[in-house]
Every structure is written in structure tokens, then in C-alpha cells.
Point group: C2
Chain length 233, copies 2
């Protein structure tokens, strides 16, 4: 049960920033937990295992993924620092993997329960977290269902910039994804994602320096992506 004051403070601050009052935030951040370093490329949690853990991402980036009948992968959710994966009854119907090397706080659902009883605000807090994820999910569904490939990629970039809390115009977005991962999120092939990136750059909407992406024309980018940030709260 490794725990450092530093990491707990990070989580506490994150919870506060997410709108949880101080007392329940302290209780939640103080829960007995491990801090795990997760490497990309190897599965962290497999599909079909029990969902008896609370997780909060301290740093890095996790994804939830599923696989269709023919083995093609679809990433169904992302978890940025401060976001969590809550426990539930039954088994996990998704796998969890890191996109970049990540640090994750992992506690047990059993330890969480008494704290939720003692601090009823936590239930409402979790509820709002889940609602936000649902809104993101809906937006992803619109992307994969109705937007063309350019709009999908642009939308993901804009969403990532907001969720990663970066300033993509001046600093550029430190794009954490490989083109294959973007394909797995947006429901395309990596080949096409590559062509979309080239298009976006040719049109002057973005500029690339290695993985880093600068948003050269934010307004136009948001227009082609039909991106409206309100769903991120």
C-alpha cells in the first residue's frame, strides 16, 4: 500500500477542482489505496474481470476498449488525470490500457462503501462524473455514426485539448495518440487518419511538429468538427 503525501494531495486537489467539497474530498483521497504505474501496450485490466476497484488517474492517460467479433478494436472511453473508473456490480465488459505511461490510484470498492455512507455528497459527485462521461459518449457516437473522417479527427483533437487542459494555439497540443489509436477511437484505419492529418495541415487548420499539434485556425477547426465544448461542462 504505497502512498505518499504528495500523491494524495494531488488527488485531493483534483477532487476539489472537480467540484467536491473539502470534507468528502479529504475522505475520498484518504482511502486506502495503491499507486500503480501503468505502461502502455500491455493490457492493464482485462475484459471479464470483476469491477471491484475504484481508480483515479493521477497522471498520464488511460483508455477503455472493446473488441468486435472480428477482433477489431474500438476505444470507448478515455481517462485523463483527475478522471476515474468507478466500481460496479458484475464483470468489466471492457479492457483498460494506458495510452502513455500513467500513474493510477487504485482502491477497493469495499473500502469505498463506508466512506460513501459517511459522505453522501460523494454519490452525487460520482453521479455528475458519470453524467459527463455519458455526454462525451454521446458525442463520440455522433462522431462515429454521422461525422466524416475529417470531422472525427478534428473533434477528437479539440476534445483532447480541453480535457488535457492544454493551450493548443500557443503551446500546441501534446497529442498523446498514435495514428492507430486515433483510428481505434474514431472508427477508421490508421492509413486514413494519416491522410486526414495531411489534409488538415494542407488546409492550414493545424500545424504539426512531430507529435505536437498546433491549432492554426481554431474557429474553422471547430466548425469542420462541429465542436461545441459545452458537453465537457
Amino acid at each position: 500500500m504505497a502512498r505518499t503525501a504528495n500523491q494524495s494531495i494531488d488527488l485531493y486537489q483534483t477532487l476539489i477542482d472537480s467540484g467536491l467539497p473539502a470534507r468528502p474530498a479529504r475522505a475520498l483521497a484518504g482511502i486506502d489505496h495503491r499507486v500503480v504505474d501503468v505502461e502502455p501496450k500491455r493490457p492493464f485490466r482485462e475484459m471479464g474481470t470483476p469491477r471491484d476497484e475504484v481508480m483515479f488517474v493521477v497522471s498520464g492517460l488511460l483508455c477503455k476498449y472493446k473488441t468486435d467479433g472480428t477482433g477489431r478494436r474500438q476505444i470507448v472511453g478515455l481517462r485523463f488525470p483527475g478522471e476515474g473508473i468507478l466500481p460496479s456490480k458484475g464483470l468489466r465488459d471492457f479492457g483498460i490500457q494506458a495510452i502513455v505511461p500513467s500513474r493510477v490510484m487504485v482502491g477497493s470498492a469495499a473500502d469505498l462503501e463506508p466512506i460513501m455512507k459517511a459522505h453522501p455528497e460523494i454519490a452525487g459527485f460520482f453521479f455528475e462524473l458519470v453524467q459527463r462521461e455519458t455526454r462525451i459518449n454521446y458525442e463520440w457516437l455522433v462522431s462515429t455514426g454521422r461525422r466524416d473522417s475529417t470531422a472525427r479527427v478534428a473533434h477528437l483533437l479539440l476534445e483532447t485539448a480541453v480535457r488535457a487542459n492544454s493551450d493548443p494555439v500557443t503551446d500546441g497540443l501534446a497529442n498523446p495518440f498514435t495514428q492507430q489509436q486515433i483510428a481505434d477511437i474514431t472508427g477508421q484505419t490508421s492509413v486514413n487518419v494519416n491522410r486526414v492529418f495531411a489534409d488538415l495541415e494542407r488546409q492550414g487548420l493545424i500545424r504539426r511538429e512531430g507529435r505536437r499539434v498546433f491549432f492554426e485556425d481554431m474557429a474553422e477547426l471547430e466548425r469542420v468538427a462541429s465542436f461545441h465544448s459545452e458537453y465537457l461542462q
Copy 2:
């Protein structure tokens, strides 16, 4: 505030069936509410309106939908009888419409709050409801992102049969959707949905009598759809 004993008993029973204990179920079903008849084709709730209502579908079928930049519609969720739409902070980022004529119980979030305080089990109950919807959402994301058009339609039919609680082999599934609506769910065009239906029938996987669909080869249908019912609980 129209309310009949009959309808309240329906909701009560539904809540019980969904796993809520008797006392909180009675309290929840007894909340002050209207029973609204919703007609298809005209919007019931518009996007951008406050999410200050609890709704439970008594009969019929509702959908949540969004629209992409070019006005193309994507249905992002369905609500079968016994399923609900919970309140949240902020504005609705989706519209609500009926697929078939529906009866909906509508209460106010303000009335819900004291009842949730008095019956803490309700929070957990709601949480599990939302988790189930999230699992369905993930499955839809895999469909629109990775499955081919045949698998998408087949998957929707199988999911609908389970959620509508019908026996699609002997009785047939009373398919509530127009082909345009199936297209709006699966991210296709109605023309292609039509061709997929014809294909499925030609392959002997389904048989159609008007809107009604009989599943002639359940095992094969589940295989082509990569459908595993566990995510529906």
C-alpha cells in the same frame, strides 16, 4: 397532476423488477408526477432545455438524439418501458422524441431530492441504471465504429428483442423502428438498412411479416452481430 393508481402500480412493479427494494420503490413511485402521452415525430423535449425532470417510460419507446453540424441525426439512446431519464445539472445536450406512442411519467428533480435523501438506496439504484446505459453505449460505439452494416442492424435487433422483453423466435419481434430510425441509430442511410434487411432475409437469418421480425437462426444471427447479451445484465 394526473395520476391513477393503475399507473403508479405499474411503475412500482417496474422498479421492483429492476432490483429496487420495496420501501424506496414505493417512495419513488409515489413522487408527485404527471403522466404524459407522447406522440412520435414531434419533439418531446428539445436540446438545450434544463434537465430538471425525472422521467420513467411507462409504455412505448423514447429515443435521445443529437444532430451533427450538417443536420444529420444520430440517435444516441433508447428508453424502453421501465427505463428512465434522470435529471442532472446544466442543460440537456440531446433531444427526446418518441419512437412509438408512449406514456411517460414526469416528475420534478426538486421533488426527487428529498426522497433520495430519505432513501439512500435510490442513489445506488440510479447508479446501476446509469452503468447499464453506459454498457449499452459502449456496445453502440463498437457497432458504429467497427461493425459492418449487417452486424449493426442484426445487433440492434437482438438488443431490442432483449430490452423489449419479447420472444423473437416464436412470436417475432414487434420491431418498433422505421428503417430511417434504424439508420439513425446505426449510423447509416435508410437505403442501406433496407438492403441489409433484404440480405438478412435472403440468408434465412430473419423472416419479416410487415414490421414484425422473426429470428429464424438465432445462433447465426448472434454470430454475425457478435452479440453477447451479458452487457444488458
